[in-house]
């Protein structure tokens, strides 16, 4: 049991060091730019349909749940604002993160893992280049940048889903739904949502690139990397969610903004 914990901590430490190295490369601009744009586009293209579908349904679900709770208070006019606010601040980034960790996180871990076990990573080193610069950093940054675009689209779709349910379920027309959105959403909320989105995509990018890069053991090893990536990403996202909520909340409270 103890050895399992120390083993985990060791790997975690290695993972952090790995992430630090990639960050250093990214900040020094030593990323293969061609690869970077390729990756951003690829991540975006692959995840967009799923994000839009999920966003739509989540918006719908939240509208139903919220309307059930606030209808007794006669506050249905705020339904649109409330649902959208919750989406921007919390549900949107979280949802995008869960989907990304599955689609892109697992996929990248599989891709990098396959490259590792078929010796392509070693081949890059022998041909005079640095795998981190050529292959890993572009994917890392690609995930983070693409996630921001995905957030915007996911948000739009969840408003659409909410609008639909508002009409079908709660009898609120589109105008009413949209009216209080500007009222309830402050720039602080938007800021919170963006920070969370960045945090989560950072977590996903680190986990999948590190675990993919560390893969050993052939086809089975690749499968293992994917599983570990999927699980660990999700757990990390949830913890990061709580941490960021907690920190932001405490900060804002002490700054008297809450």
């Amino acid at each position: 049991m103890i050895s399992a914990v120390t083993g985990f901590l060791e790997k975690f430490g290695e993972g952090l060091l790995f992430t630090a190295r990639i960050l250093k490369l990214c900040l020094a601009g030593k990323v293969s730019y061609e690869g970077l744009f390729d990756q951003i586009w690829k991540v975006f293209k692959e995840s967009l349909p799923t994000t839009m579908v999920a966003g739509f349904f989540v918006g719908a679900i939240m509208t139903v749940q919220f309307s059930l709770q606030i209808a007794p208070f006669g506050a249905l006019g705020y339904l649109g604002g409330l649902a959208t606010s919750a989406t921007i601040r919390e549900v949107g980034p979280l949802l995008i993160a869960f989907l990304l960790s599955g689609k892109i996180g697992a996929f990248t871990a599989a891709e990098l893992g396959t490259m590792k076990v078929t010796e392509q990573i070693d081949a890059i080193r022998c041909l005079g280049s640095d795998p981190l610069t050529e292959v890993i950093a572009p994917r890392f940054m690609g995930i983070i940048v693409a996630s921001l675009f995905l957030l915007v689209f996911g948000l739009i779709l969840s408003v659409a889903g909410g609008l639909l349910m508002g009409a079908l379920f709660s009898g609120i027309n589109a105008q009413e739904y949209l009216r209080h959105i500007p009222t309830l959403i402050s720039s602080l909320s938007v800021f919170t949502g963006l920070i969370k989105c960045l945090c989560f995509s950072f977590v996903i990018a680190s986990v999948c690139t590190y675990l993919g890069h560390q893969t050993t053991g052939g086809a089975r090893g690749v499968g293992q990397s994917v599983i570990h990536t999927a699980v660990f990403s999700m757990v990390s996202i949830v913890v990061a969610d709580w941490l960021s909520s907690f920190i932001l909340d405490s900060l804002l409270r002490s700054a008297g903004l809450l």
Binding site: E119, Q120, D122, I124, R125, C126, L127, G128, S129
Partner: protein, 245 residues
């Protein structure tokens, strides 16, 4: 040229190479034989710095290379071109992209015309034609992929070629073709070749000298002519399989 001085390599609890010392001769084809899991591939990886020695030194042309850092290893990797067991071609690049990967402008200072020329030259050496250049690796057969992989390394114009189990898992016809490729590639640039293998038959045909590893130590180093009369038991085992064909 290349010299191993009492090189040891261990992983956690397992010692894979235990005091290996030998020197290569210029322009020779040296086969390194041994049963599976004896650290033959490890030996090659130590040369190009994909792994680090646990003890001992490796020297290349009067220069110690076993303690170089990653940033300083590229010249070594150019001199000692590694050909992996898997083709290890990059799926997202075309054949041309793969072949020119090691000699891209920012790495070699060559013009695109010169790069194309090199690519075509080496494509010819491995017996492939120009029409493959725009294809992707997934569109090639395994045998073709292996040839492209070799051509990719040849583009670096290495003085030494390192082959990691080139014929493992191949049928006899393809094995023969690969042996011929090894000969061609060596002769083309006058390179020294180290071939890691467990195929004694190919070794007897192609090698100038054969080195046999067992339990991390060298148990025999001789020419094919000398080795057939070796008294070492394991070597005799290897030979008996071949001679009984």
């Amino acid at each position: 040229m290349l010299e191993f001085k009492s090189v040891k390599k261990s992983f956690e609890t397992k010692t894979v190479l235990d005091g290996i010392s030998f020197k290569t001769e210029v322009g020779e084809i040296l086969f390194i034989l041994g049963t599976s899991g004896t650290g033959k591939s490890v030996l090659l990886k130590l040369i190009v710095g994909l792994l680090n020695v646990s003890a001992g030194e490796i020297w290349l042309d009067e220069e110690k290379i076993s303690d170089l850092k990653e940033e300083d290893l590229f010249p070594v990797r150019k001199k000692c071109g590694m050909v992996f067991q898997h083709p290890a071609l990059f799926d997202s690049e075309t054949v041309f992209g793969n072949l020119s990967y090691g000699i891209r402008p920012h790495l070699s200072g060559l013009s695109s015309g010169e790069i194309k020329k090199k690519v075509l030259e080496n494509l010819e050496v491995v017996g492939l034609t120009e029409d493959l250049l725009e294809k992707k690796p997934s569109q090639l057969s395994y045998g073709m992929q292996k040839r492209v992989s070799l051509a990719r390394t040849l583009c670096l114009q290495p003085e030494m070629l390192l082959f990691d189990e080139p014929t493992t898992g191949l049928d006899p016809v393809t094995t023969e073709a690969v042996n011929q490729l090894i000969l061609n590639a060596s002769r083309k640039y006058g390179s020294t070749s180290l071939v890691v293998s467990h195929d004694m038959k190919s070794a007897l045909k192609v090698a100038d000298r054969i080195l046999v590893l067992d339990q991390g130590k060298i148990i025999e180093l001789a020419t094919p002519k000398e080795i057939v009369s070796s008294r070492v038991p394991l070597v005799q085992d290897f030979l008996s399989e071949v001679l009984n064909d």
